[in-house]
Amino acid sequence: MPRLNKRASYLTLLLPAFIIYIGIIIFPILVSFGLSFTEWKRFKMTGFNGLDNYISILTDPVFQRSLWNNVQIMLISVLGQIPLGIILAYLLHRKWVRGTKFFEFMIFLPVTISSVVIALLWNRVFSPVGIYTTFVRMITHNPDYVVKIFESEKFAMIPVLLVLLWQYTSLYMVIFLANLQRIPSSVFEAALIDGAKESTIIWKIVLPALSTVIFTCSVLAISGSLKSFDLVYAMTAGGPVNYTYVMALYLYQHTFTFHNYGKGSAVSIIIVLLSVGLISLVRGIYDKAQKKFE
């Protein structure tokens, strides 16, 4: 095998991925970007309309509610799934309990279950004909009982958030578990011999060692939450009214139900811009935190 010089090796390793990626994702999204400034009527593009699509989206109360719901999903991902993922990975890695393999599998399972099944079962339990509801009606002798939170304008997202927390924590646990392997077990042993507490080990050894990965996971969590669609669609489809609407649903509806590619494309671009902003913010926080640890 002839020796490749450094530059050639660099390109050999990088370019195949880059070309596929540009062709399939970047090219269409540039088309989208262009379309986001166009007006559509009766399934046809009728001309450019500048920023009109963006203005009408940003001033639409349905979009504003969707945005807020996405922010809630993001918060539960970054502040719920990631910390929980770390704790679970740590406790399994350090074998606090017996049967770690079994529990690991159990925690992983939810991401493999179809959102359709989750939504159906959820309804079998909590809908007005569900077992939970039927049971409460029986013991309270109140035949009008329903789970009120589903109809609450303010809190209708909470059930969705709880299910998301359960479903996707394992994603992060799997990532952290792989990365914990990088810390040699002698480090833990040494620390324990020195009399360090578990909490000290987590703060002083595990978190610093995982900091890059935590950042990576935050990026995944933010981008994933701003795009989330499947579970919300299966559980509530945005309802009741539009209390659980999310941006991806809004995008879908304007593109494919109302046939307005201009507006649909503008939503895609807004989602991208928002994510870039949020990820930069996290990047800033991460850089600061790194300095502190050093």
Binding site: R42, P128, F150, N242, F256, T257, F258
Partner: protein, 434 residues
């Protein structure tokens, strides 16, 4: 390097698969015509047993016409269809509606106008509503094999008898039954309005028609009448009264269709507001005596109604052809043969035996039908059919209206305001007012 070798092997396998993949249209040297088709049909569902039988019969009678069919359902069907329409690559035969829902293909010059290919002798064999003009051009884009009945009230007469009640003659009488029904531990009406199109399709359309008559909706759509007028506002108000009086079972806006069905099937409620196409599922799920006790009827009389005892129905999805077929005589003939077979005598007879009520005129009294299917046939014959609201108006406005309606049913909203908002949207955006 074992790993590398393994990867190489996998990649080679991959390339073989890739090069062997993909079905391209075959040429027709032996006189066989192959047509591509895209249908919103679910062959595995009991509801489409008739469809499967027709397809088998067609294959047998016309071995030289091959159909390459892709089936899909729901939102996914429309999403892909729109991509096809956007790239002007649509299949030879496809299912679509005559109204607004699939206008992205019928109104963009991709669908063949069937008018020149259908003679009066053929057309006269169908219910006259089959040939109502379609789309904004008022031509015939598709032949509907059946009608969808969108408003039906199913009443459990066994419970009614037990409570000493009868199916109400008027809306007020219906409301006055609530205390008796509740006192006996039942819920009055089940309806699954989790997806808010339900209240629109299954209730609102019929109510507007009762108050305004059949012609009013087209006037309102075109701007000769306003949605702030009485028929529309009164219809909204009836729905509000139903909610406020507790006619619906609790959680009506949290229940999916099948959950509402479940409540009614389990005999926890006396009435069910649903569509006509539920009968095949009832035949499959319920014991015979329970089915015998179900009465299929329509909304009771309302104060100030101008039409009486109406339900609402719309031509079902039908078969349309690609405009591109005009250029290929052999394919066009084959495609026309297929849709005429499916909707005409042969197809209709086969489908009727499986419980369909075809748009083709058949004497169904001779067909041996299951209990609920039989009731459905009688229902279709007994009640006059009005229009279906969301097949006329643009989807975006209807979605907004449905959301507002659901909010109203949950206690936030007032009929006059909703009517005003909707009229404003229609005036500014709806394609009917162009």
């Amino acid at each position: 390097m074992k790993k590398t070798a393994l990867f190489a092997l996998v990649l080679v396998l991959a390339m073989t698969f890739v090069s062997a993949a993909g079905t391209k249209e075959q040429s027709s040297d032996d006189g066989t015509v192959t047509l591509t088709a895209y249908m919103q049909i679910d062959p595995a569902n009991d509801q489409y047993a008739g469809h499967n039988a027709v397809m088998a019969a067609f294959e047998e009678k016309y071995p030289n016409i091959k159909l390459d069919i892709e089936y899909a359902s729901g939102e996914a069907f429309h999403q892909k269809f729109q991509s096809m329409a956007a790239s002007k690559q649509i299949p030879d035969i496809y299912t679509c509606y005559g109204g607004a829902r699939t206008a992205y293909v019928t109104e963009t010059g991709l669908t063949l106008d069937l008018t020149p290919y259908l003679d009066d002798a053929f057309k006269s064999q169908f219910a006259s509503a089959t040939w109502n003009p379609q789309g904004s051009a008022g031509v015939i884009y598709m032949i509907p094999p059946a009608f969808s009945v969108c408003h039906t009230i199913y009443a459990n007469t066994a419970i009614l008898d037990k409570l000493g009640l009868e199916y109400p003659k008027t809306f007020d009488e219906w409301l006055s039954q609530i205390p008796t029904i509740r006192a006996a531990g039942y819920y009055p009406v089940s309806m699954g309005n989790k997806d808010p199109w339900v209240v629109n399709s299954w209730l609102l359309g019929t109510l507007i028609e009762r108050f305004g008559g059949k012609e009013w909706i087209m006037k309102a759509a075109k701007g000769e009448a306003s949605f702030t007028d009485e028929p529309f506002v009164k219809a909204l108000d009836v729905i509000k009264q139903m909610s406020d009086a507790g006619l619906f079972s609790p959680g009506v806006n949290q229940m999916s269709n099948s959950e509402a069905d479940q409540e009614f099937y389990q005999q926890k409620s006396v009435y069910l507001i649903d569509a006509g196409w539920r009968t095949s599922a009832m035949d499959a799920a319920l014991p015979a005596d329970q089915r015998e006790a179900i009465k299929m009827t329509v909304f009771p009389a309302l104060d100030g109604e101008v039409t009486h005892n109406t339900s609402s129905a719309v031509a079902s999805e039908g078969f349309a052809l690609s405009k591109a077929l005009e250029k290929d005589k052999a394919k066009l003939d084959a495609a026309l043969t297929f849709i005429k077979f499916y909707t005409g005598t042969e197809g209709a007879t086969i489908r009727a035996e499986h419980g369909d009520v075809p748009s083709y005129n058949l004497d169904l009294s001779k067909v041996n039908l299951d209990v609920m299917q039989k009731k459905f046939v009688e229902f279709s014959a007994e009640y006059p059919m009005g229009y279906v609201f969301d097949s006329i108006m643009d989807g975006e406005g209807v979605t907004m209206l449905n959301t507002d309606l659901q909010a109203m049913m949950m206690g936030n909203g007032d009929p006059k305001q909703i009517a005003a908002d909707y009229e404003a949207w229609v005036a500014a955006n709806d394609s009917n007012r162009d």
